[in-house]
Symmetry: C2
Subunit: 500 residues, 2 copies
Amino acid sequence: MTSEELLKQYNDWKFRLSVYEMALSIIEIDKLTVAPVAGASYRDERTAFLAGEHFSIMTDEASLNVVKELKESAEDPDIRKEAETYYREIMKIVSIPKEDYVAFQRARDASYDAWVAAREADDYSIYEPHLKSMIEWSRKLYRYRDCNLPLYDQMLDDFEPGMNTAAYDRFFESIKEKLLPFIQKVIEAKPIDESFLYESCDTAKQKAWTKQILLPYLRFDKDWGFQNETEHPFTSWTCENDCRTTTRYFENNVTSSVFSTIHETGHAWYEHNISPKYDGTILSTGVSSGMHESQSRFCENYLGRSLPFWQANYRSLQETFPDVFENISLEQFYRAINASKRSLIRTEADELTYPIHILIRYEIEKGLFSGSISTEHLDETWNEIYQKYLGVHADRASDGILQDVHWSDASFGYFPTYALGSAFAAQFFHAMKQQMDVDAALRENRYIDCIYWLKDHIHQYGARYSADEIMVMATGEPFNPNYYLDYLIEKYSRLYSISL
Amino acid sequence: MTSEELLKQYNDWKFRLSVYEMALSIIEIDKLTVAPVAGASYRDERTAFLAGEHFSIMTDEASLNVVKELKESAEDPDIRKEAETYYREIMKIVSIPKEDYVAFQRARDASYDAWVAAREADDYSIYEPHLKSMIEWSRKLYRYRDCNLPLYDQMLDDFEPGMNTAAYDRFFESIKEKLLPFIQKVIEAKPIDESFLYESCDTAKQKAWTKQILLPYLRFDKDWGFQNETEHPFTSWTCENDCRTTTRYFENNVTSSVFSTIHETGHAWYEHNISPKYDGTILSTGVSSGMHESQSRFCENYLGRSLPFWQANYRSLQETFPDVFENISLEQFYRAINASKRSLIRTEADELTYPIHILIRYEIEKGLFSGSISTEHLDETWNEIYQKYLGVHADRASDGILQDVHWSDASFGYFPTYALGSAFAAQFFHAMKQQMDVDAALRENRYIDCIYWLKDHIHQYGARYSADEIMVMATGEPFNPNYYLDYLIEKYSRLYSISL
């Protein structure tokens, strides 16, 4: 084959892959947002077929040879990297029999449906057999891989290339060692009043404020992005100019949707800002889950929970809900949205205790795959571990084991990247502040300047460089979790007047 | 091949077709409701590929032989009918080269995008080249068919099997002959005051009323149906338990969304009520466009614009918008929602002048394909014909030529079925009233009883029987347009106190 023919075959193959990826992505967005539940089994069966077609294209032998050749011999380093990345992903699934792959997709859809039903009924037993099935499926599918690493290490590596149990153990050890005693001090300090955040705010007005004030401030543009509503907020995308996010509104928790909106649009900005030259290829996506979370949590916490952010936005919130906020000063509001407490819900947790929620999930995942924890009575196990680390107990399963969607679709190994991403973000924040006046940008309605910094240093590359490489390029040094620990301890010492 | 093998092949083939149909349907729903416009070209290119895959499966030679054999030799008459129907559809496209088919899909998506842009800019010239292209594409694609009928007759037959220009000419002649002079009398009669319908009604409250009162009254259930919002309301579906509708809200036209909601849920009920034994097959859809429109317009007009419907619903509307309706009696409201006038917008037209809007489109379509009308200055031609029949002139192209989506996706021959459907509905209404107390059902919150009648007599069959067969089964006689003309003249004589 001439190199021209080779490239043509390769491009055709990539295009076909991207077709099925787009279709599966839109069908999933539809399923998670608006699709009527009674039609789920009809759709799921057909979606599984499409996933099977994607699998067939991905693992097709002739194309595999093309990819193999290009990863070694392509002149363009972008194409070499692209082909390498495809090759790595193909190798993960190439030995799985297609029937198994399709059956897994179907089981996964059924598991998600069961999770939704279990939440509605607030009954873990509806979900338990499906969770068990997802674990068994994962074991089965990973067994086909030509890899000697322990199962959970493979899973961790899938979401965060290069990471494994040993590295996460070290990371979480430092969190346990430095944060747990500090959290104890915060708990013993004078509590910050945040009760007003839970007063009634009409959800229609919340929506209107989000649409008219918040999204424009974040520069989330409906030409390339759309925000919908779902029980569990998420972000999804088909190409640079098509990023979908969702949020949810609670009458008695007005800032919940605010921070989920800032968080999810952070994900969306990452995808939107990737160089269009990677569109339709495997490089046109965030490089790892940790890096993706670093961007969303950067926006949510490092920007969104800062005083300057609210110097720009608090007045309009006050005007929208005068009954609640009229007599609350900006400073009081800022302290309230950062108040730390022992809480049940991960997505609602403050920055300080957030990594503990992740630590808990990490320990459970490790236990589920080492066999020391069983899905049976996992709702109770969950509560025991929450009691141990955070001193809280979920009376309703939907506030405990059923709160997160991730395990329902077999995304084991994903959670730890949330804490890692928060830690990445601290290091980026440190670097950004040395190069620009972040506070002024937020205060002066130039949130976009922060986004441009992220685009220049992180987003544009997509998956062209590894997370490690991007970290060094953006901050001048390898990942160092101390930025994160220092940031949290400094911020919360100030908030709670704790002398170190 | 044994008959078992034959059936297995056939079922596999049907399943694969249904997979691509579902994917294309969901992608289209997404496109029409929420997908960000800047991502359109990326998505459209890939959607065209999927349409091409559907085409390949549909026209695959081996499968064609299976279908051919089954339509002749299957024991089960349902399967014979099914195979016959597939065969008819395959024959329509089998000779089209796949490149042409895919290029057409792409052109069609681009044409829709141009229509949206043209409406926004209120500028026909943006749309004109695409409309021209859709006509040229239609000519080109139909030329591949092995059919000697005139082009426009083929198009009419595609939407309404059995219909052609001669039959529609007769139908519209009777409308012209009987209705036009009657409309003249109505115009000269004392006008009905309907000005209050155009007073300001908060759209958020309209939405809430639709969700809390109207949709529950119509028994449109979110388990199997979802209502979204779009510029141009439509209904779409993937299976019996997945029907999507849309509506649009106007602050200064509160009943617009009400009647579009009743109309679109009428389509949705048809699809939902088709026997699940046809799910995933070509028989699991309304038998013709006219039959589909007969169901939506039945619900919208014969039920929704009746006095008993509003005996059940008017009070809650009054309570929602007291400023507007407090001093308007039920009788006044009923007369207002049926007021007849020369109007510009088809979807907002009253029942009496509605067929004239269709007649106009029918004459333009005939002219476009006979060559007597050109796309050039069609905005002006449009106005001339509107002037002639309805005495009105659209100052904005979006109130004229740009108001309908249909031609943008090459659905030529579709419009006439709207008038035909209205006429079908009159005959069904006549039959239904002889068998049940429709007024009591509507008044007593048993709208569903009317739906059950439609299900028993029409919906359940899907495309198992022809429109003609269903008409005879449901009403005891072949289609007779006099039911329609009599209904309109009787209703409007009463409303306008015209003695015949």
